[in-house]
């Protein structure tokens, strides 16, 4: 009999989701606010259970699920994002009739991500991927009256479906060559893939499939539209959470299963990383919609994290893994801040209503919403890699690892990109603090404030006292190499 207690965090999440779904049927829109708090509690419980289980190592269900430092670290990432998103969504879903659907989808998406983190088998990996993807497709189009939300969701869904097919196709090639779908068994029989041209085909297809989730250029077309169109809280989940799913899957699949083909995919990732970070930063400079700017900046960040696949030293993997957690807090928080501004603009009915997240709506935010502006400043400075924030530490470890491995060119490109990104982040800060406000001061609703403070605390904690997080990331990296 399997020890189901090892899956306690997953069980907590799925149970909360089901309870919410059931309770929602019997509740009126006015009382449904409780569901948000319930979801938060469930996620918090799962988070505590995950942190408690650090250090456990086990495989379950005939070796398809593996509980190790890597899976637990990424579960921490996903749950942290979901926690922030559920807290902020309490306000977003206020007086909505669809609260229970929203939270159930969020929780099921989280469940899918958590299983991706644990998956040690291609079939489970694919199913978990799809679970998370379907839930997020629905969430992206949650605002049924908003054409932009629908457009984003449609694009996300169509490209997502194609990429799932590519991924499955890639998996079938791997299966064909090795006769197994178990990641550890594939790793043991790596020679079968390395000596067979089919291996190369599989690598190409898998990179395309995962590249879509990671939003690497040129598989990124959906990301700006989906991030901009989706409700901001959902964008937060997409950019900070579900994107990391692609990374953890790629870590397991490429670094562990396809290690024998390393020269092939390493080179590909080198090109993808450089193109992605440069493209993301250059395009972000000219954006006037803050959410769209954050979307492109998110591309750039994915490019940085992808450096871990290029450098491939324990230090680089530690940096990449550390970066995913840092990015979860920074980007998650930044989208929540955008959500707060969108909420302000739509309730006050002032400013640019057509594009509620327009840069102009951030004018004088420091006076209108001091807390939001302060937190947003922390997030964008962190994204730019300014000390003492999580973003600085993450870049410090990751970029320096490139130097360690002798890839100075890569570090130089990354660092120049980082300098370029400062331009558009600083512009946002300038709008918030140094242009005069167009409207009066507004009290920030508690859920948004709590979510912002949570993320800001994460960003600062990882920047000022990175030791425990680095240790966890190192443990996680050891699983891979």
């Amino acid at each position: 009999m399997e020890n189901l207690m090892l899956l306690a965090p997953e069980i907590a999440v799925v149970a909360t989701g089901l309870i919410i779904l059931l309770m929602g049927v019997f509740m009126s829109p006015r009382t449904k606010n409780v569901l948000g708090y319930l979801a938060t509690l469930g996620v918090l419980a799962a988070l505590v259970l995950t942190v408690q289980s650090f250090g456990t190592e086990a495989t379950m269900f005939s070796g398809t699920v593996s509980i190790d430092a890597l899976s637990q670290f990424f579960k921490l990432v996903f749950l942290a994002v979901t926690l922030i998103v559920s807290v902020a969504s309490i306000k977003y879903n206020e007086n909505s009739d669809h609260t229970e659907e929203f939270y159930t989808l969020v929780l099921f998406a989280t469940l899918g991500m958590m299983f991706v983190a644990s998956a040690n088998d291609f079939i489970l990996l694919f199913c978990a991927f799809e679970l998370a993807s379907f839930a997020t497709y629905a969430l992206a189009g949650f605002e049924k009256q908003n054409p932009k939300s629908l457009e984003g969701a449609m694009k996300y869904f169509l490209i997502g479906a194609v990429s799932s097919a590519l991924m499955l196709f890639g998996i079938s090639f791997v299966y064909g060559a090795t006769g197994t779908t178990s990641i550890s068994t594939i790793a043991e029989n790596a020679s079968l893939l390395a000596e067979n041209p089919i291996g190369l085909v599989a690598v190409v297809l898998l990179i395309a499939g995962f590249g879509f989730k990671m939003a690497l250029v040129p598989f990124h077309m959906w990301a700006p539209d989906a991030y901009q169109g989706s409700p901001s809280v959902v964008s937060s989940l997409l950019a900070a959470g579900s994107k990391k799913m692609g990374f953890v899957a790629a870590f397991r699949v490429f670094v562990v299963a396809l290690a024998a083909l390393q020269p092939d995919w390493q080179f590909t990732f080198a090109i993808l990383a450089v193109v992605t970070m440069t493209f993301g930063n250059v395009i972000a400079v000219s954006q006037t919609s803050v959410k769209r700017m954050l979307a492109y900046s998110s591309l750039a960040q994915a490019g940085y994290i992808a450096m871990a696949f290029v450098v491939m030293t324990p230090m680089a993997l530690t940096g990449g893994i550390f970066y995913t957690l840092a990015h979860a807090f920074m980007k998650g928080g930044a989208f929540i801040a955008a959500a707060a501004v969108v909420w302000m603009i739509t309730t006050q009915r002032t400013g640019d209503l057509e594009v509620p997240d327009h840069l102009d709506n951030f004018r004088g935010l420091g006076k209108r919403m001091p807390l939001t502006a302060l937190c947003m400043t922390i997030f964008v400075f962190a994204l730019a890699g300014i000390p003492p924030t999580a973003g600085f530490m993450a870049k410090f470890v990751l970029f320096s690892s490139a130097i360690q491995a002798g890839m100075t060119w890569l570090a130089v490109i990354a660092i120049l990109n980082s300098a370029l990104s400062l331009f558009y982040y600083a512009r946002l800060v300038r709008y918030m603090y140094f242009l005069s406000p167009e409207g009066k001061k507004i009290g920030l609703p508690f859920p948004y404030a709590a979510a912002l403070l949570l993320s800001a605390a994460g960003v600062l904690a990882m920047g000022l006292w990175p030791e425990p997080f680095l240790q966890w990331a190192m443990e996680a990296a050891k699983v891979l190499i």
């Binding site: 300014i386 000390p387 003492p388 600085f392 410090f396 470890v397 970029f399 320096s400 130097i403 360690q404 100075t408 570090a411 130089v412 660092i415 120049l416 980082s418 300098a419 400062l422 331009f423 600083a426 300038r430 140094f434 006292w465 990175p466 030791e467 680095l470 240790q471 190192m474």
Partner: protein, 495 residues
């Protein structure tokens, strides 16, 4: 005993945080003044307890921070950092007094940024760990950027972005060098560490000469761009000129480039692959900056821009003296940093007053101001004279030491620099004559002299220039002790 080094960072930082929340200008300026006085008190306390006879680190504190990367929070003060901390602590309170009567938007942010800047700069001076060092190094950018961007002149946006991107990129290249040093030493010893002194000591054992050259050059690039020196100076005239007076003075107090030179680059220099070549390179850049800066200054129409270029010229002495690698030339370079900070504060304050009372800084549009502004004229005269190297004032001692003792190793470059002395005297006297003396330009209308707060703050700094010019020992002694330690290292290696 008090943890002075940490308090020197914390006190201005805490006062800055509180200042950001004040409502009126008097509250903001008052609180900032109080904070800077507290910092000055702490600095004087540290100075009085400081032992000038040893080059060892004093007031040392170390707390474990990120063991897995070998980064610690470690700070301390020695003869290289003490005079620069002193300079900052002395000038900032007077800067706040000087600007008290000026009208401006958002005074709480203005004074908050001044204190933040002070904390960041002192942080760089006391940091003994590369991680801490780099964090404060980058932190200095933010207050200066906003200072220029918000309260600057007409082309402030251009100037602020240029400054920011220019020096940020330079810092990032420096960061690459730090990474290289860190990993090469990790590979060598098997233990990661970010300790500055440890890494500098490790430097000689690392890899090939080529690698050491690359590390040395990329680190020193960050310092040279901050110093700044020809040809990495093009951000300077824009930023210094467009900044508000207080911002220009903060730029002047930003002595972190020269500091890095003494703390990190000079001890590394003898162990580079081609030390002779590096010395020639630094000596050339120094001497050429002196000459180039003075020539361009001669050509300027704008008083503030002239002072900015003269600043470039004077920072050349720091580089030339460092490259001289003789105890007294290095001490001269250190003293030049200290002296330049005091003198340029007076000059930028004077230019600021002229701008605000006459509405112009174009030298030819001024004239005969001495009649209307006698008090300013006296103080400005002291500044100009000190800057052109009149004996009895600080500038003379610094330049004399640098030129006389760099001649031992770099005679050619010293001769090049000597040319500039004449030019420097020329542009200062010429500017003085056109702006302050002669017939009063009636178009300027009724011009008022500086107020008593400004007389007091500028006057005290001018008196200090005189005092340290007559008796430099209180700061020069500790500089000599530290330079001896640096130079003996080089001498032992036969460079």
């Amino acid at each position: 005993m008090l943890p002075v080094a940490s308090l020197l960072i914390l006190v201005p930082l805490i006062f800055a945080a509180v200042t950001f929340f004040t409502k009126t200008k008097d509250q903001a300026a008052g609180l900032a003044f109080l904070g800077s006085l507290a910092t000055l008190g702490l600095t004087l306390d540290a100075y009085l307890n400081f032992d000038s006879s040893t080059a060892a680190m004093q007031f040392f504190e170390s707390i474990e921070w990120i063991p897995s990367l070998g980064a610690n929070y470690s700070v301390g003060i020695d003869g290289i950092s003490m005079p620069l901390i002193l300079l900052n602590a002395i000038v900032i309170p007077f800067l706040i007094l000087y600007s008290w009567k000026e009208e401006r938007e958002a005074p709480n942010r203005f004074y908050g940024l001044i204190l933040t800047m002070q904390a960041a700069v002192i942080g760089v001076f006391v940091a003994l760990d590369f991680m801490v060092f780099y964090i404060f190094w980058e932190l200095t950018l933010i207050p200066l950027f906003f200072m220029v961007n918000i309260w600057g002149g007409e082309k402030r946006v251009h100037a602020s972005y240029k400054f920011f991107i220019y020096t940020h990129v330079a810092s990032l290249i420096m960061l690459l060098g730090i990474f290289g040093l860190f990993y090469a030493s990790w590979q060598q010893t098997g233990v990661p560490t970010f300790d500055i002194r440890e890494l500098v000591a490790q430097f000689q054992f690392l890899g090939s000469g080529l690698l050491r050259n690359a590390i040395f050059l990329s680190i020193i690039f960050g310092f040279l761009a901050k110093l700044p020196t020809f040809p990495f100076h093009s951000w300077l005239p824009d930023a210094y000129t467009e900044a508000p007076t207080a911002g220009s003075v903060l730029f002047i107090l930003l002595k972190i480039g020269g500091y890095g030179l003494f703390r990190i680059s000079l001890p590394m220099l003898p162990n580079t692959g081609n030390p002779k070549l590096m010395i020639m390179l630094l000596g050339f850049l120094g001497a050429f900056s002196i000459l180039y800066g003075s020539l361009v200054a001669l050509r300027q129409k704008d008083l503030k821009r002239m002072i900015a270029y003269s600043s470039l010229s004077h920072m050349g002495y720091v580089l030339l003296g460092s490259a001289g690698l003789v105890t007294l030339s290095v001490s001269g370079a250190m003293f030049q940093q200290f002296s330049h900070g005091l003198i340029m504060s007076i000059l930028f304050m004077s230019a600021g007053v002229i701008q605000s009372s006459t509405g112009t800084r174009i030298i030819n549009n001024l004239g005969g101001l001495a009649k209307k502004m006698p008090r300013l004229t006296v103080i400005m005269m002291i500044g100009f004279m000190a800057s052109l190297g009149l004996p009895g004032l600080t500038g003379f001692i610094a330049e004399f030491l640098v030129l006389a003792f760099s001649y031992v190793n770099l005679p050619g470059f010293v001769l090049l620099a000597l040319l500039a002395i004449v030019i420097t005297a020329g542009y200062y006297l010429w500017a003085m004559q056109r702006a302050m003396f002669g017939v009063y330009n009636e178009k300027l209308g009724d011009v008022r002299d500086i107020n008593s707060l400004q007389v007091f703050s500028m006057g005290v700094i001018a008196l200090l220039v005189l005092y340290f010019g007559l008796n430099p020992n209180p700061v020069l002694n500790m500089m000599i002790t530290s330079s001896e330690a640096i130079v003996s290292l080089a001498a032992a290696l036969g460079v």
